[in-house]
């Protein structure tokens, strides 16, 4: 998060440019060959792990991982394009200058940059390096998974106009995202909301205009973003897999018909299950008859912004304290929204 002077004259580089070296490239190819060989030679017997629960936890974790990985790569690629190829004025100058109007515009950016929520984290990091404020990036992270064409279409396919679920999701997501952006923009020193590692990345990027060619810099960014995002994604997927096996679905589902408990139960389910906002409507449709509409809205809004996998990914960028406040705020808003829909409906 650094505001740069516009159009600074190119600064002569003081450090050595990055070089492409053949040795490590061969090492990289050799590593790939080793990994492929291990995969091909591994035993094909299903019963290596006897316990059902352990095998299921691994299967579920791999499933979350394989589902999210392409979106994370897409997010990283978009972030690289935004940072290296899109001129600053296109993104930041086109945004209105009035803070609230600016946040409102940022919250519909998901329409033109439709990445899933896990892909949004690297993209938001790229946008912050480019100069988006912390509050605005919060608004983007919260709004983009909900206010994007894919999510809106799947939610419509699943629920139509029934019970106001679609309208409540869109309007609620927009309101919560802008509230978040406003609250966090009031922080006297917004950079304290970030991890020290990410602060340094931003400071470093601001002075790195002249490190070699664009392709080399793109690869450098790719290395940096994968080393930040992938450990978080792998840990998040592992936790999501484990928690599925430990938490009983039956318990959450039996809470379904109470106006208050059903909202809380579905928020808990959303947190635990960590599925993409693009398809969560189909998933929760499966429980449509069990739960009240308010609970479904809370699931669709809360789960799109916060879940175990997302917290793990967001931790690469925001401090633990910030994430605790963020989670509490989103949870309260989603709860209020859900209860409101239940009362009015």
């Amino acid at each position: 998060m650094v505001l740069r002077e516009p159009d600074v004259a190119p600064r002569p580089s003081t450090s050595r440019p990055r070089l492409l070296r053949p040795g490590p490239l061969v090492a990289g190819l050799a590593l790939v060959a080793v990994l492929v060989t291990v995969r091909l030679l591994a035993p094909a017997d299903e019963q290596v792990i006897a316990a059902d629960a352990a095998r299921d936890a691994i299967t579920l974790a791999i499933s979350v991982l394989i589902e999210s990985l392409p979106f994370v790569f897409l997010g990283i690629l978009l972030a690289i394009v935004v940072q290296l190829w899109v001129p600053e004025r296109v993104i930041l100058r086109l945004l209105p200058r009035t803070p609230w109007l600016r946040r409102a515009t940022v919250s519909v950016l998901g329409v033109v940059l439709p990445v899933c929520e896990c892909g949004n984290v690297p993209l938001a990091r790229g946008l912050m390096v480019k100069g988006l404020t912390v509050g605005e990036s919060m608004t983007f992270l919260a709004a983009a998974p909900i206010l994007n064409p894919v999510t809106i279409i799947t939610t419509y396919q699943a629920f139509g106009w029934e019970d106001g679920i679609l309208v409540a999701r869109i309007a609620g997501g927009f309101a919560i995202a802008n509230l978040l952006g406003w609250v966090f923009s009031r922080h006297p020193s917004p950079s304290e909301l970030l991890t020290t590692r990410f602060q340094r990345t931003c400071a470093y990027e601001a002075h790195s205009d002249e490190h070699g060619g664009r392709m080399t810099r793109a690869l450098g960014l790719f290395a940096r973003e994968t080393s930040a995002m992938l450990p978080a994604l792998f840990v998040g997927a592992a936790i999501a897999g484990l928690i599925q096996v430990v938490v009983s679905r039956d318990l959450l589902v039996t809470l379904g018909s109470n106006p208050l408990w059903s909202v809380l139960a579905l928020m808990a389910l959303a947190f635990v299950i960590a599925i993409c906002s693009n398809v969560d409507a189909f998933f929760i449709l499966a429980f449509g008859s069990t739960f009240l509409p308010g609970a479904i809205v809370a699931f669709l809004v809360f789960g799109a912004i916060i879940d175990v996998k997302m917290l793990s990914l967001l931790r690469t960028t925001f401090s633990t304290r910030t994430l605790a406040q963020l989670t509490a705020l989103v949870a309260l808003c989603a709860l209020a929204l859900g209860l409101g829909v239940n009362l009015l409906g």
């Binding site: 990055r18 070089l19 492409l20 070296r21 053949p22 490590p24 490239l25 090492a27 990289g28 190819l29 590593l31 790939v32 990994l35 291990v38 995969r39 591994a42 035993p43 290596v48 792990i49 059902d52 095998r55 299921d56 691994i58 299967t59 579920l60 791999i62 499933s63 394989i66 589902e67 990985l69 392409p70 590692r197 340094r200 470093y204 490190h211 080399t216 690869l219 450098g220 994968t226 080393s227 930040a228 992938l230 450990p231 792998f234 096996v245 679905r249 039956d250 589902v253 299950i273 960590a274 599925i275 398809v279 189909f282 998933f283 449709l285 499966a286 429980f287 449509g288 008859s289 069990t290």
Partner: protein, 248 residues
């Protein structure tokens, strides 16, 4: 030194683990064990792009002023390195060494067979002029759930394939031929099943066995079971788990 190396290569190694695993699953037709078919192409294409970038990145000499290391006190650094190594090792074992696996029948029991009425209702097939031979477990389960059409299939013959799970309301006489329905990835798998009346089924077909059942729908002879219509089988045979065990 070790922590520095790890910090630099951890992300790329993890990326390559995921990429090799994804491409192998795609090449051997097993991606369906984890994700919905609509994502196959996107997933494999992104994996290949990611792989090319990751390998190219290896060739990139680190910039002299690169900030790779976490700002950690020297005391915590050892644990951090150990945690990173464990993560890489565990991921390698899970993604490359273990055979791909479906969800167990135990998780079907935890998720309540046929609890997902609505998803079935949305996709319910039309009965008039339908090709019953092509009906899956999901199609039949949807028909059985909808009160309007359930009555009209009494006497209809059906062939279904799935794994065995007990009917909780009459576990001795009725079992479900069960399949998982996946809407996005295996995490959201919901079991659906067609009830089959076969007293003493456990002796021949333990829970989780894959079976082919052929028979006709009839009013459930069991008085305690909550299912109204069941298949009364003419033949029930064990079979291999199909290459694509989930239905979509």
């Amino acid at each position: 030194m070790a922590s520095r190396l790890l910090a630099r290569w951890r992300g790329l190694v993890l990326a390559l683990l995921g990429i090799v695993s994804t491409v192998w699953l795609g090449a051997t037709g097993q991606l369906g064990l984890y994700i919905h078919p609509r994502y196959y192409v996107f997933t494999v294409v992104m994996a290949v792009i990611g792989g090319v970038l990751a390998v190219a990145t290896f060739a990139l000499a680190p910039a002299p002023d690169e900030h790779d290391e976490e700002e950690l006190p020297a005391r915590g650094r050892g644990w951090w390195t150990l945690g990173g190594l464990l993560l890489v090792a565990a991921s390698a074992v899970a993604l490359l060494a273990l055979p791909p696996s479906t969800l167990s029948a135990a998780s079907a029991a935890d998720r309540d067979v046929n609890s997902s009425d609505a998803v079935l209702a949305v996709d319910a097939p039309t009965l008039s002029g339908a090709d019953y031979g092509a009906f899956t477990v999901k199609d039949w389960a949807a028909v059985l759930r909808s009160p309007a059409s359930a009555g009209s299939i009494e006497g209809q013959r059906a062939t279904v394939k799935g794994f065995v799970t007990p009917d909780e309301t009459d576990p001795d006489n009725v079992f479900y031929v069960t399949r998982f329905v996946v809407t996005c990835c295996a995490v959201d798998a919901q079991p659906v099943g067609v009830p089959v009346y076969l007293p003493g089924w456990r002796e021949d077909f333990p829970v989780e066995t894959w079976v082919d059942v052929e028979g006709a729908f009839a009013t459930n002879p069991s008085v305690v079971s909550s299912e109204a219509l069941v298949i009364v089988p003419s033949t029930t045979e064990t079979t291999e788990q199909p290459a694509e065990p989930y239905v979509f």
